[in-house]
């Protein structure tokens, strides 16, 4: 059975309850899901979403729990990483989406004029994955054919590409629908 991990920072939306008892609900359970919602959830700062982010990676979930807390975690007030087992097929009312597949399915034609592809150099994706530490790669001018007369500019970056990179970086899946408490099988303190 696939195992996923959910990091929960101190003082955040899900921190006040034991998810092994309550299950996991999204911040906005009544909101509609679209691919655009998924992209906003992953690549922008949209927190009021019908999606629940989880990771296939314990390390990623632990990093979010520790670093995305609203107070620094301590032994007395730890952040948490929950282990969540979701069977295939999932329980009724639960849908697990791979954001890469979701976005790719809507960008399957390489012949359209506006593409998710960037036109920077081979290091450009490093900047997308790590905008603080490697942000220089984001703004390095896009090389253009000699004599083309193109305006000096940074490479193209679409929200679709940001979503791909961040979802892959974080080994992220999106869950729609409340996750039943029975599927939340373990909790780890993080501090």
């Amino acid at each position: 059975m696939p195992r996923f991990y959910k990091g929960v920072g101190v003082g955040t939306f899900l921190h006040g309850t034991d998810l092994r008892v309550s299950g996991i609900s999204p911040r906005s359970p009544g909101a509609s899901y679209t691919v655009n919602v998924a992209m906003q959830h992953i690549a922008r700062a949209t927190t009021n979403s019908p999606c629940i982010s989880m990771s296939r990676s314990y390390g990623v979930a632990e990093m979010y729990a520790r670093d995305a807390s609203r107070a620094f975690p301590t032994a007395a007030n730890p952040a948490f990483v929950y282990e969540v087992d979701i069977p295939d097929p999932p329980p009724p009312g639960v849908t697990v989406l791979d954001p890469v597949i979701e976005v790719a399915a809507q960008n399957a034609n390489p012949l359209i004029s506006i593409s998710y592809h960037h036109d920077g150099d081979m290091n450009f994706l490093l900047g997308v994955a790590n905008p603080i530490g490697m942000g220089a790669h984001l703004t390095a001018p896009a090389k253009q054919p000699g004599g083309s007369g193109g305006t000096r500019r940074a490479p193209n970056l679409t929200i679709e590409l940001e979503t791909f990179v961040r979802a892959l970086r974080d080994a992220e899946v999106l869950v729609l629908g409340p996750v039943p408490a029975a599927r939340v099988i373990n909790r780890h303190d993080v501090y």
Binding site: G9, G11, A45, T47, D67, A68, R70, F72, P131, I132
Partner: protein, 90 residues
């Protein structure tokens, strides 16, 4: 547990009504997030606001919708201060 690094925000970020920005804190120099400490009516709040450095966005809400929006609009200014200090300190 490591002591947090911090950047003083007093006087660098304008108040929003009763909301006064105090400092930005982080424990892990590699963290994508910093914690913005703030006071309401001169009393520091127990929980800070998470600033996502990748997204240049504050993830948490303060007060009513107008206040929350105004606080989030300070994200870019705080981000500049934090990134400048983090790059200089390493």
């Amino acid at each position: 547990m490591a002591e947090p690094n911090s950047v003083d925000l007093h006087g660098k970020i304008s108040d929003i009504g009763a909301v006064h920005f105090l400092r930005a804190e982080w424990q892990n120099p590699q963290s994508r997030f910093v914690l913005i400490r703030y006071a309401v009516d001169a009393k520091e709040e127990r929980y800070g606001l998470r600033l996502d450095l990748d997204k240049k966005a504050i993830l948490d809400d303060v007060g009513d919708a107008a206040t929350a929006r105004a606080v989030k609009e300070r994200a870019q200014d705080i981000w500049k201060i934090v990134v400048d200090v983090r790059f200089r300190r390493g």
